[in-house]
Symmetry: C2
Subunit: 308 residues, 2 copies
């Protein structure tokens, strides 16, 4: 058995429009690279962090360290692990930076131990790491990072994750405006109550979206990718949100929404050419704002975290 | 071309648990029988009503007549139609009695005219008939009666109906307690606002249910068939609702809910044997109440309205 594994742990989009709090998908063009190494000395050690972000080396304070510890305590292996993180997903970008770290360590350890755990079990460990970053236990980004494709987190207690099919020609274009949206503010802005009428519209759209993904019906994806509940509130926290969305739709995007709790905005398109046009249109909007930004174009990654 | 057609127009279940207001399914063991006859004299005439219910012969007051008129005005055929109705679905039972009438006349006329209209177009005509019975335009029962199987009414303006696959071994057991639930009361009892938390639970369950129907995952159907929004209110209007539901679940039903706005209660089961056991368990509960009732056991009818 190998003693070292290098992995790619992908960025992900959670809160996919009408699938707020339950639906996510996985990207393939951006993700963290990590090395997990089996060592004789017991324990979990973060030995290298690259990427230029100020992340802690203390295992109990590091997202990848905490999820690794959760698995380590359960598995009780006769060895220890070193973790190296090359952080390529900017923390706070809204595309699952902490989830990628949390997933990478447990995925790598599981491979090195001969896969004693299922992906659902790995999610349980990774949730512990995710919780120290996002202050609550959720699997919205962990699930797509581990399983790939589109995932529906039906419940987290017990953890039940459904793998929803991804149409072959579906691409995401994502803009990350380099501003901070405080998660606490994004949570506080949500209403506690919503109208029954809007709730029905939301689940009609969500059911339609799940059907559309099963049937590769791009037209129906377009008709279903609406969020009448959360977007009206949270979009206020993202500068030029409506302009970006309008530009993307005019350029042919199937739909757009807030990625996670922002500030990133995701769009979905049929085909790489369309996704590139959408990128150009968004770039055109944001170039005029004076706010720094990154744009990612990515096919839906149906594999999830993987060995490289 | 034939001048007369005899049809079976099936009963249906709307408001399927977490799919409140959008998801319905079609039954095959109970439905109206109708004869539609092409005649030289222009106009729509209700010429026979059997079944023992007090339904109007005046075309403009009869559900089947009004939907027929809507189609007749659009098609402007060089003939007229007689409609005979053998009403086998009790009005007010909550299993789509008016929808069956509304669908039957337009389906039959469409067949006799050589199918100029799609099922979606027939839904538009049938909505006019349904509206005089239920005082609002909706397609919750029309869609499954016309298309068969499970249908998701994504929107009614414009009409967009999605056909969701039905697992082969899925059966419904339905009890119709012979009491009246006023639709106005069933509407008035609903809250205008619901908690965001419950709304999220509902769409998680609904998305899961759509996925489960696509994948014939009976276990997931069971885990998804919950309604946290409407059932707590409307179940109060149906005597012994909770006892019926508990008995059905204990007898092996995958789930249970209010059919339409009641008073009928539907349950779903895997296999005919299970559906029969569920019927026995429900019968056992209701036999003790002194309230008259009917019980129907039916495979999911994937065809919908048909020639017989």
């Amino acid at each position: 058995m190998k003693n070292e594994i290098k992995i790619f742990s992908p960025a992900t989009v959670a809160n996919v429009a009408c699938g707020f709090d339950v639906l996510g998908f996985c990207l393939d063009s951006v993700g963290d690279e990590m090395v997990i190494r089996k060592i004789d000395k017991k324990g979990i050690y973060i030995t290298k962090i690259e990427g230029g972000f100020d992340l802690p080396y203390e295992t109990e304070l590091n997202v990848a360290g905490v999820s690794a510890l959760a698995m380590y305590d359960a598995a009780k292996p006769n060895c220890g692990f070193e973790i190296e993180i090359n952080k390529k997903i900017k923390p706070g970008s809204g595309i699952g930076s902490s989830a990628a770290s949390a997933v990478g360590s447990v995925y790598g350890m599981n491979e090195l131990l001969g896969r004693p755990y299922s992906k659902t079990q790995l999610t349980e460990f990774a949730i512990k790491g995710e919780a120290i970053a996002s202050k609550c236990e959720h699997a919205d980004n962990l699930a797509p990072a581990l399983f790939g494709g589109f995932t529906l987190v039906k419940s987290i207690s017990p953890i039940q994750i459904l793998e929803i099919p991804s149409p072959d020609d579906l691409y995401a274009t994502i803009i990350h405006p380099q501003i901070e949206v405080k998660t606490s503010e994004a949570r506080a802005i949500l209403p506690k109550e919503v109208s029954l009428t809007n709730a029905i519209t939301q689940w009609a759209n969500f059911g339609s979206l799940i059907h559309a993904l099963h049937t590769s019906d791009y037209d129906l994806i377009q008709k279903s990718l609406h969020d009448v509940i959360v977007e009206p509130y949270r979009s206020q926290l993202i500068p030029h949100y409506n302009e970006v969305k309008t530009a993307a739709l005019n350029a042919g995007a199937l739909g757009a929404g807030i990625s996670g709790s922002g500030p990133s905005i995701f769009t979905l398109s049929k085909g790489i050419e369309s996704a590139k046009k959408v990128a150009d249109s968004i770039k055109n909007v944001y170039s005029k704002t004076g706010i720094a930004f990154d744009i990612h174009i990515s096919k839906i990654n149906t594999q999830g975290v993987k060995k490289i």
